[in-house]
């Protein structure tokens, strides 16, 4: 599928599992963690996302310019951080998770490790 077309209608999420971050792009239905609670508990949620995995470091410049992560899902610490305005994804989490909306993009990015800030290679 054309990468440009694939990167439409969804948001870019950084998912952290066992300390390692990976990027996924999908529509919000994939980020409603309360809807995926059984898979999260079983540890299979990440497998459900397999087709959504993307490699921003391989994107051409125009895609790198356009896309920034708006969601961090830390499966290790059970934390969801959202910088996405439209749907309050931080409220759609399992009961034992912490969800937080961070309005400022600058503040949000501080929660992403330097090695996962693919866009900074442009600078």
């Amino acid at each position: 599928m054309n990468e440009q077309k694939r990167l439409s209608g969804g948001i870019l999420a950084l998912i952290i599992k066992e300390g390692k971050g990976s990027y996924y792009y999908g529509d919000n239905s994939f980020w409603l963690l309360d809807d995926w609670e059984p898979e999260i508990i079983r540890g299979t949620y990440i497998h459900e996302l397999a087709l959504l995995k993307v490699c921003p470091e391989e994107w051409p410049g125009e895609l790198l310019e356009k896309h920034r992560p708006e969601l961090i899902i830390n499966l290790d610490d059970k934390v969801l951080l959202s910088n996405y305005y439209d749907q309050a994804l931080e409220t759609r989490i399992p009961s034992d998770w912490e969800g937080r909306w961070i309005e400022s993009q600058d503040d949000f990015i501080k929660h992403i490790s330097t090695e996962d800030r693919f866009w900074e290679e442009l600078i």
């Binding site: 239905s29 409603l32 309360d34 809807d35 749907q87 309050a88 400022s104």
Partner: protein, 321 residues
């Protein structure tokens, strides 16, 4: 279950039953012609079925009385057929309202396997049963979710129930005239928030769609969801009062109007957001989102944004102060 031999057997049993009820001094008509033997002809494929019907009549005098007062063979035939379809739902199959409801679905040509599935699920869910009995849920809504998002009911039951009620309400309020107000909460912040303003209200009341590659979220009919999004307060379709931390307290509310026909179309094609990626009914469809929040929020992709962009009521857009 093979319907025809079973029905034959059940009608034979019915006359046997009339004989029994007559001897028990119940007010049953037609007993004079009932056979006086208890020779049961029961289908070898399901010998318990005929007995179960007889037992249901014996154990439920109200059901027996209702069945007995049916005036003609055709009416009794329909009841038996509905009873057979409802066989796996023991409390529903002796409930006259549910038998009538089942009969209506059969007459409407609904797939009987789906009716059986619905009845079996409803038998085990008092909330679902109550909602059906109040006509808050219809078959079409249940069927669309069952075929598209079957895991919804087990993963998030309150969301499932709320979505069923919303889809039914949308079915019931469809009409072809007038316009519907749509609301969107956006922006309100500073700096990077500017890029999230997917709609711009022009001075002449027209809208500019700034980036249709982004999913567009809005709500319809009333401001309930917009108010909830900015204040954290409201009442949802399940009747629950919500009072939470406001999700987006600084949001700006935009209002615009769309023709009712387009609203009808959007709502009739809408699917639950729940696991929409694997929903076989998903054709870039509008999504019913956050069903347990107040109001009627939806999310739409580019093609639907284009449709709304082409058909909304020009000049109707404004910022709600």
């Amino acid at each position: 279950m093979k319907t025809y031999p079973i029905r034959k057997a059940i009608f034979y049993l019915f006359f046997v039953l009339l004989s029994i009820l007559s001897s028990a001094h119940l007010p049953v008509e037609g007993t004079k012609t009932a056979p006086n033997t208890l020779e049961w002809h029961i289908s070898p494929s399901d010998p318990g079925c005929g007995k179960a019907f007889l037992k249901d009549l014996n154990d439920n005098p109200k059901f027996a009385a209702w069945f007995n007062q049916l005036s003609d063979q055709s009416a009794r035939d329909k009841v038996v057929e509905a009873w057979e379809v409802a066989f796996d739902a023991p409390s529903l199959r002796v409930n006259t309202d549910w038998l009538s409801r089942t009969d209506n679905w059969i007459r409407d040509g609904v797939d009987q396997a789906q009716i059986k599935k619905l009845l079996s699920e409803t038998e085990l869910s008092p909330q679902l049963r109550h909602a059906f009995e109040l006509d808050e849920i219809n078959f079409n809504s249940w069927n669309r979710i069952d075929r598209g998002s079957p895991s919804f009911r087990t993963t998030n039951f309150s969301g499932y129930l709320a979505t069923l009620k919303k889809m039914t309400r949308y079915d019931n309020t469809a009409s072809s005239t007038d316009v519907v107000k749509y609301y969107r909460v956006q922006g309100g912040g500073s700096g990077s928030a500017t890029s999230r303003e997917l709609l711009t209200v022009e001075p002449n009341g027209n809208l500019t769609f700034n980036d249709k590659s982004r999913e567009l979220y809005f709500s319809t009919d009333d401001m309930d969801h917009a108010i909830y999004y900015t204040t954290g307060q409201g009442i949802n379709i399940l009747g629950n009062t919500l009072n939470v931390s406001p999700p987006r307290p600084d949001g700006v509310i935009i209002e615009f109007e769309v023709p009712k026909w387009l609203d009808n179309q959007m709502k009739s094609e809408a699917i639950p957001q729940h696991r929409a990626g694997s929903n076989p009914l998903n054709n870039n469809s509008p999504q019913i989102v956050d069903p347990t929040q107040p109001g009627n929020p939806f999310g739409i992709k580019e093609s639907w944004q284009t449709l709304i962009e082409s058909n909304y009521i020009e000049g109707s857009a404004r910022i709600v102060e």
